[in-house]
Amino acid sequence: MKIALFATCIVDAMYPQTARATVKILERLGHEVVFPSGQACCGQMHINSGYMDEALPVVTNHVEAFEAEAYDVAVAPSGSCVASVKHQHPVLAERCGDSALKARAEAVGAKTFELSQLLVDVLGVTDAAEQLGSHFPHKITYHPSCHGMRSLRLGDRQLDLLKSVGGIEVADLPEADQCCGFGGTFSMKNADVSSAMLEDKTNNVKSTGASLCSGGDASCLMHIGGGLSRTKSAATTLHFAEILASTLDEPVSVTGQVFVGKGGK
């Protein structure tokens, strides 16, 4: 299958290793990955902050970039960006009175998947150790991001994939379904409330005794990781794509103190 990668702006610029891991996983499965070079950002920051006029060129660019390449499906290692492409782009186009763009955005959206959605629903990956050779001998916990959980209805796809990694131990995160408080510019505009939400999330992460909190959204992980770091916690965050890409031969390097998991495969 020919798969177009949407790296998303934050992963492209701040977490390139997450996109590289995504590529690795798909290539190991024998698929061809293409990177539409015109891509930049899904525009959800602009849309969610109310800057619709400024969002329009960003959304238009995304649609054009993904129309420019031939591929079977597109994938992004981020639930919120996929939710934006699928749900927000057509709404924005309609709001701006561009019904042609709306139809084009819908077409791109229909072909775009979040990584776990693609792996489980389209590519039939259910056992990461078996099918991807994933090996990660650490104790982790998992935060399901709001957009994956509620906009895309990912359910336990990411968590189940993680649990199927060799050597891993997955600890349940208390109040896992609670928002971490990031919310894009919400964390700047309402920094106090956002911090209060983050504090509960990081305390819950710490309570599991896991060395890592994994998830499917770089922005939430940046937020939770930033809070853990500020409170001098030994725990840090890691995208689930990087855990899936980790093998015995090519283990992902984990910074900070690492607690070895007791799971065994």
Binding site: V23, E27, D53, P57, C146, D192, A196, H223
Partner: protein, 501 residues
Amino acid sequence: MSNVFMGMPTLPVFGMGNLHIEEPFPAAAHRELGNTQMRANLRHATHTIRDKRLKVVAELPDWEELRDAGSATKNHVMANLPALLEEFEKNFTARGGTIHWARDAHEANKIVADLIREQGTTEVVKVKSMATQEIGLNEYLEERGISAFETDLAELIVQLGHDKPSHILVPAIHKNRTEVRDIFLKEMPNVDPDLTDEPRKLAMAARAHLRRKFLSAKVAVSGANFALADSGTLAVVESEGNGRMCLTLPETLITVMGIEKLLPGKEDLEVFMQLLPRSSTGERMNPYTSLWTGVTEGDGPQNVHLILLDNGRTAALADKYGRTALNCIRCSACMNVCPVYERTGGHAYGSTYPGPIGAILSPLLTGIKSEENSSLPYASSLCGACYDACPVKINIPEILVHLRGEDVDSKRGAKKLPSQMDLMMKGASWAFSSGKHLALLEKGLPLGKLAAGRDKKIKALPGIAAGWTQSRDMLAPPTQSFRDWWKKDHTPVAPTHKQEN
């Protein structure tokens, strides 16, 4: 019937009354966040109701279908509001009731005060009502020498405590038992000085206090949960039975109701009577449902009045993307699951309507240009928990985003200088509207390393991002973007597991 024109005015009238926040939400939230007792009370209460709600909702195999039905009925009502209101008016009047139309809070308050004066009394009992809170009726009456006694227990606590409600269903949710006892001891006439904080004792004290009021009041004021167009019937749903006393004992009953509360007919009630109690109190059924249709000679109130309140509702209805906010049945499920509400409490939202629904409804009713209310749509991380919980499927996150857009648009060009946020968004729009622009910008990534310390963490960001680094570190950016790596260093890895294509 008064002769105030109803229907769709060409220029929408915005609402007034207790709908405005007095300071921007971030400032109000900052203050409330410091109240640790309130936060603990609220966390305990919302989590308890949340769990109860989940349990009773899970019992119904057709919960999603019920939500769809509720949502469809409400959409139908909003699309046919003028005709349904006329039908309701015809039937309500035919059965001996009197209808009054009120364009805004001031008109509604005046009609109520005049009706009370006509009865020659200065004391009224009240059934808990959001509409009268929205229009500030109690304060209005007090200024005119009329005392209104709240009879809902939680509402009574708030009233005696000279406080404001902070939740639409549990107005005193921010108070615990000990605080309630202290209020009763201080403010309730003839209360037992040895009153303990045992819930039963507190309820008995309130009951004795209220009984005296019920038996003497000649006029009652109520709200309504639903109005049935096909029969002219009003309905109140409650859990203590005090409302029923108000609705049956006095001679005159005055109801104030928002025009959006209409339902086509009694068969629609079936759906909502399943949706409402489960969503609000986590109960399968509420203890008391009162329905009344006009006047029955020799039984119950002999003067029955209804004030149909607009107060910004037609303005909200005119908003294509926002109008579904009027579908709200005030169950409070959205606030019980909202992480922002859980931490700030209802007072931070200023208006009668707090939480996620308040963050959209208040600015819709007052207009987004109403200064401080423009901060309300930003009081959400858009986590979507409210949308999932809402029994009538109001897409609150989408309306929040829409209102943010209205806010930004309404301020375009109005300011002399663009704000930092304006500049950031403009810059990011340029960067994100082309792969080439972003690639160019990413050439500067190594610079980020300089901003970070030896531990590769950025501990203080400038300007509007400063709030971020109050409680979070920012990792130093990498030296190479993915895009760059892909162009220069990517070589496909050999498949380890062949997939069928």
